[in-house]
Amino acid sequence: MQLSFNKGGGETLAQLRTGDRAYLHRLDLPEEMSQRLMELGFLPGTIVVAAGSAPGGDPRIFRVDGSDIALRRDTASRLYISAQPLSEAELL
């Protein structure tokens, strides 16, 4: 399946440096993949911390909702972040 790149979404998790944190804004992935990530805690509005990476920098490890999850860089680059918490409207 071809993934559509949504331009103008701004920064993604892939750009977060180790130790940085941000609010997850939006998952730009096919339904099935985003559902799996949401089950693991990657819900819009959640704080995600870049916790490190495998040797070589890929996959990266993110700390979200109490657990450490490894994701490939190309998956992380589909998860858009923002510095501010989401508004009520965005959460719904």
Partner: protein, 632 residues
């Protein structure tokens, strides 16, 4: 056991269920499900398979006060009630009653990790909404307390309308509350808490918000971060130390299997020879003694010798998995695996395939992506499984001189063995690349791996798992290999002439061997090897037993020389190397064919796989022997 008529009213229907009352044990991965299951049932458990799919499950017995048996079924871990992998589908089907062989469970034990309660409670919403009697078990109480977290189980129970038990499955603390719940299930119908209507929450964000709110109401204080895990990860995932430790672990496992298992294997071999000899000396000379000593003891014994090695490999993999290191290893391996079109999760099945392809292929179920899983299943049998070791070891001992290569560290014999391992690995990687550039071509898949905190593996869980493996292995030795050995012995003793068995060459087995000889002669194999190739279609290690039987019968009058001596007379070095190459590639294992067929649901893939591996084996062996002849 079928007298479950005491159930009525609001209780789920249980009448006439053959298995009696049964309780489903469910929870997310890494919540400690197996540890609790082993605590509850101990040795009163067995491995079973769901019909149709080969998802293994454990079922254990717990006896209630009235002496009635309750069954606890340990289901594969799930993250949600929307099944995405084979594993999750099994759990889902059992819980909603779509599994016809088991039927709906009488009650559910939902086990959650109390150190990550709010995220795990997300799963509680859809499970509790099923409306079945459910005990919510909050596990890892010791860890929660040690890291300064807390929760009020009574308050939580009030919030969710189901009993809650805070326990630690690894220390046993609070487990009696689970047992108490189980007994209640058996003795009388326990209705779901009356009048508590559980809200149906459609979306994940809604469930997460609900979980957060419920957690707050239950006075949940999240524990401090697992400092030790973070410290260890800084080392194990370090840019330099990480890969180094990874290599040391993998090499250490191999070294341990070979050197560590040797004394035990020698001991088992000694025991088999001694008992065989003892048996022979008590029995009168004749057909029966020959069948028992040459057929059964010789055939089955040559296989049972490998039990220690297989158990040791499973022990190592069990320790790595339960401690949490294997998840890190998968993350480290992911980049390399991605280059050949696989993913990090395939590392775990492929590592287990060094022990045996059958559990390895079952372990691929955790790979969500169908094509990734298919590729992993298709290449797993190339990994050098322990069943190849008997023939490798035998041929190497007979034909390879132990010339030192690197002083004391590496001899030629070890180098050849290592080379065979590398060869299998290269064949696996090459096949993966081939699949990826042809039938399984597709965009990159997702790799997601949760890294659980490091934990001390439970000795009980490890031992019970080893026992499972030992039972499965011995069952195979006692059925398939026993049948093949006895069948071969009979075929090697027929047709009778003048009341005496024929010379082995004239027997039915010998005739079959000579019939295939023209095909395998260019490979350097004679008709005796031919018989071995045919019998070892059942399982690779059978060829050693077969050759033992054939040479044993052939030399019955004389003092039979060891197998090694007989082989040296019968094979050229070219043929011996060709035989090793043949076994490196060929899919000589009926169990693997059967498991691939069941896992992938059709005969097409195992047929292609068998033909492909056989093709590689035949031409690889042909090339080896012809090169040897040319350069001799």
């Amino acid at each position: 056991m079928s007298d479950s008529g005491s159930c009525h009213g609001a209780a789920p229907q249980t009448v006439n269920r053959k298995a009696g009352h049964y309780i489903a044990l469910v929870g997310p991965p890494n919540a400690g499900k197996s540890t609790l299951f082993n605590r509850l049932t101990g040795l009163r458990q067995k491995v079973a398979n769901f019909p149709g799919v080969t998802v293994e499950y454990h079922v254990g017995r717990v006896r209630d006060e009235s002496g009635r048996d309750l069954f606890v079924v340990d289901l594969p871990g799930i993250y949600s009630m929307t099944p995405r992998s084979e594993d999750e589908k099994v759990t889902h089907d059992v819980l909603v009653g779509a599994n016809l062989s088991l039927g709906k469970p009488d009650a559910i034990i939902l086990i959650l990790d109390s150190t990550n309660l709010q995220r795990h409670l997300v799963l509680a919403a859809p499970v509790l909404a099923l409306g079945m009697p459910t005990l919510v078990v909050l596990n890892m109480a010791d860890d929660l307390a040690a890291r300064g977290g807390s929760v009020d189980p009574a308050a939580l129970a009030k919030e969710i309308g189901a009993p809650v038990a805070l326990i630690s499955a690894s220390t046993g603390e609070g487990v009696e509350r689970v047992t108490h719940f189980l007994r209640g299930t058996g003795a009388r119908p326990i209705a779901p808490a009356p009048k508590f209507v559980f809200p149906i929450l459609q979306t994940l964000p809604a469930r997460r918000r609900w979980a957060g709110r419920v957690g707050l109401q239950a006075g949940y204080t999240a524990p401090a971060p697992p400092e030790w895990t973070r410290r260890l990860d800084r080392v194990f995932l370090d840019a330099v130390a990480g890969p180094l430790i990874f290599l040391i672990v993998v090499l250490g496992v191999f070294q341990g299997i070979f050197t560590g298992a040797q004394p035990m294997m020698d001991g088992v071999e000694h025991l088999i020879n001694w008992s065989g000899g003892l048996l022979g000396s008590y029995l009168p000379e004749g057909v029966f003694r020959s069948l028992l000593v040459e057929g059964v003891w010789g055939g089955v014994g040559s296989v049972v010798v490998f039990l220690p090695q297989i158990l040791l490999l499973f022990l190592f993999i069990g320790i790595l998995e339960d401690s949490g290191y294997l998840a890190r290893a998968a993350v480290i391996a992911d980049r390399t695996m991605a280059r050949v079109g696989l993913q990090g999760k395939a590392f775990i099945p492929l590592l287990s395939a060094y022990a045996c392809a059958v559990p390895a292929i079952m372990a691929t179920r955790t790979i969500e992506d169908k094509r990734d899983r298919l590729a992993t299943v298709l290449i797993a049998p190339f990994m050098t499984c322990s069943a190849r070791l008997p023939i490798y070891t035998l041929l190497i001992a007979a034909f390879v001189p132990n010339t030192p290569l690197l002083g004391q560290f590496l001899g030629l014999q070890a180098a050849v063995l290592l080379g065979l391992y590398v060869l299998g690995f290269i064949a696996a990687v090459g096949t993966a690349l081939l699949l990826r550039s042809s039938v399984l071509r597709h965009a990159k898949t997702m790799f997601v791996m949760e890294l659980p905190p490091y934990r001390r593996p439970s000795v009980q869980t490890l031992l019970l798992r080893l026992m499972d493996r030992a039972v499965i292995f011995l069952q195979r030795a006692g059925t398939v290999i026993l049948l093949v050995s006895v069948g071969l012995w009979i075929l090697a003793h027929l047709p009778y002439e003048n009341g005496k068995p024929p010379a082995i060459e004239q027997s039915i087995a010998g005739q079959i061997g000579r019939a295939v000889e023209p095909v395998i002669l260019p490979l350097g194999f004679n008709w005796k090897i031919g018989i071995g190739l045919i019998t070892s279609l059942a399982a690779r290690e059978v060829i050693v037993g077969t050759l033992g039987t054939i040479y044993g019968i052939e030399n019955a009058e004389k003092d039979s020389p060891p197998l090694i001596e007989s082989l040296r007379k019968d094979l050229t070095p070219g043929g011996a190397y060709a035989l090793m190459i043949f076994f490196a590639f060929a899919m000589q294992c009926f169990s693997t064919v059967a498991i691939v067929r069941r896992e992938l649901g059709s005969w097409a893939w195992p047929t292609v796989q068998f033909a492909y591996m056989g093709f590689l084996a035949y031409f690889g062996a042909l090339l080896t022997n012809q090169v040897w002849i040319a350069f001799r």
